[in-house]
Amino acid sequence: MSYTGTDFRRSAAAITSKISAECMHLCELDSAVGDGDHGTTIQRGTKAGLEKLQTSPPASLSEDLSSFSMGMLSSMGGASGPIYGSFFMGMASAAKGHESADAPLFLAMLKQGLAQIQKIGKAEAGDKTLIDSLSPAIQAYEAALAEGADFATCLQKMTAAAWAGVEHTKSLISKRGRSRYAGERGIGSPDAGATSMAFMLECFANTATGDKSCAS
């Protein structure tokens, strides 16, 4: 099994419809401590990213990730626009020169995505951001890979860890973005961005392994 440009186009479609379905839910999460627009923002971004893919000729995995990133960047705004734009741009740059990704390359892509997020956003694990679902997800993936697990299993572990990370954000106090002002009042609510990130990773896993359940 390897992850191709075609797979990413399927992932992008799955992500877009999943995010649309969860739009109000994500807004409600953001509304508890932030300004309530994360759902509409990420929906706008994924739609624009997908449209960019659909209107551009077949291209490499890296080029497609980069197009998706540009679609998000030029449509989202807010804090999450540059953050998600950077994530996909990081994945694109790690994929450069490869027709498709095997399990180790996909890990490198995720790591490069995280690195770009941290480069631009300066957040650490524990700040109650989408890093708190992405970072444990990458760790779980890496641990599974080190134990010799296959690609599909790595992706499953990744997804489970992402959702555990979302759950963990409930206990955190935000240090970034609009939710930081809520301080301890934010305890009990999961972070909106961590949640959207978990949906994305889940869609990656499902499309990579051929599971269509995410493309509802």
Binding site: C27, S31, G36, D37, S74, S80, G81, P82, I120, G177
Partner: protein
């Protein structure tokens, strides 16, 4: 929800459509999310770009014009604009004398504007940033650089715009604008929440008869909730905090500003202004000018904010210049 809108996705663009139609003699549309005063870019003049999330009208959209900014760039409601739109705005303001990016210090804005600034510099445009951070509640003075920008905006923009209009150099415009920011302090209180037009969700809850100090312009949590105070008591609390923060002292000369957040009546604003005048007189602080109105709103949030800007002769000179923008006019 109680709002007159069309499709939620089209809000930001349609509101800019309406703005440009309303003011077609004085402003032009540069791109979907970018508007400029008709004459921009103006030869020999430093360019001033302002912007941020939409939904705070007249801020920033309507503060372009003579003695104000050259270009405004907007995102969706409460969401910072995107880097490509900001880049277009920078290009539209650039007359080769440098372009100042002047906006409120929020994480989302900084991320997007910084990206655009990089892109513009790669194109050889001279660009610098001045962040507005007048709101005192969220961080102590030692962490002032983390503070948010709020209702000092239009007077800072006016001073920046007037300085640029005077032919001052890029370095001078930056210096004067930074001085205006450094001398501004604001604090507000919310009495009623607002709803996001895209979703109809409230940004926060606040019971009838309660108020919250330091509530952000996007429903960010404030610092203290209490039972509704009188107008006089409210003015007292806001002023005590603001005056101690700079601190403002006897002999200072200030602009005294009351901003309504959206659903606030001018009646309430006038009552708070009335008390502010008595307060400042008692402290020996002179009022150079008073301003009252809705300059920076948070949809239909209820409540007011108080802003003081301490003036020196230079700031006073630029403040006293004429301003002619759709959202703020000052006739000297």
């Amino acid at each position: 929800m109680r709002k007159l809108i069309n499709h939620p996705d089209d809000l930001a663009v349609e509101l800019i459509d309406g703005f440009v139609l309303t003011n077609s003699k004085k402003v032009k549309r540069v791109a979907r999310h970018v508007c400029a005063r008709s004459e921009a870019p103006i030869a020999g003049k430093v360019g001033v770009v302002i912007g941020g999330g939409a939904g705070h009208e007249p801020l920033f959209l309507e503060f372009i014009g003579r003695g104000m900014a050259d270009v405004s760039v907007h995102g969706q409601i409460f969401a910072a604009p995107t880097p490509d739109a900001i880049l277009t705005a920078i290009q539209a303001a650039d007359a080769g004398q440098g372009v100042m990016l002047l906006y409120n210090n929020y994480a989302g804005d900084v991320l997007n504007f910084d990206m655009a600034q990089e892109l513009a510099r790669m194109q050889g445009i001279e660009v610098e940033t001045v962040l507005i951070n007048d709101e005192i509640s969220a961080f102590p003075p030692e962490r002032a650089e983390e503070r948010r920008g709020t209702t000092a905006d239009h007077i800072v923009i006016h001073i920046a715009g007037a300085a640029a209009e005077s032919g001052a150099s890029f370095a001078e415009v930056l210096r004067i604008t930074r001085k205006a920011v450094l001398n501004s302090r604001s604090l507000g209180v919310s009495t009623a929440p607002c709803t996001l037009p895209e979703t109809g969700l409230g940004t926060f809850t606040l019971a009838d008869g309660r108020m919250e100090f330091g509530m952000g312009l996007h429903g960010e949590a404030g610092i203290r909730q209490c039972d509704l105070l009188t107008a006089d008591q409210t003015a007292d609390e806001l002023l005590a905090a603001i005056i101690a923060d700079l601190p403002f002292r006897a002999g200072d000369e200030v602009i005294a500003l009351i901003n309504g957040y959206g659903a606030t009546t001018r009646m309430e604003m006038f009552l708070v202004m009335r008390r502010m005048h008595a307060w400042l007189a008692e402290k020996g602080i002179a009022i150079h000018a008073s301003e009252l109105g809705e300059f920076c709103t948070a949809q239909e949030m209820g409540g007011v904010s108080v802003t003081l800007m301490r003036l020196d002769e230079e700031l006073k000179k630029f403040y006293d210049c004429a301003a002619d923008s759709p959202g703020y006019k000052s006739i000297s």
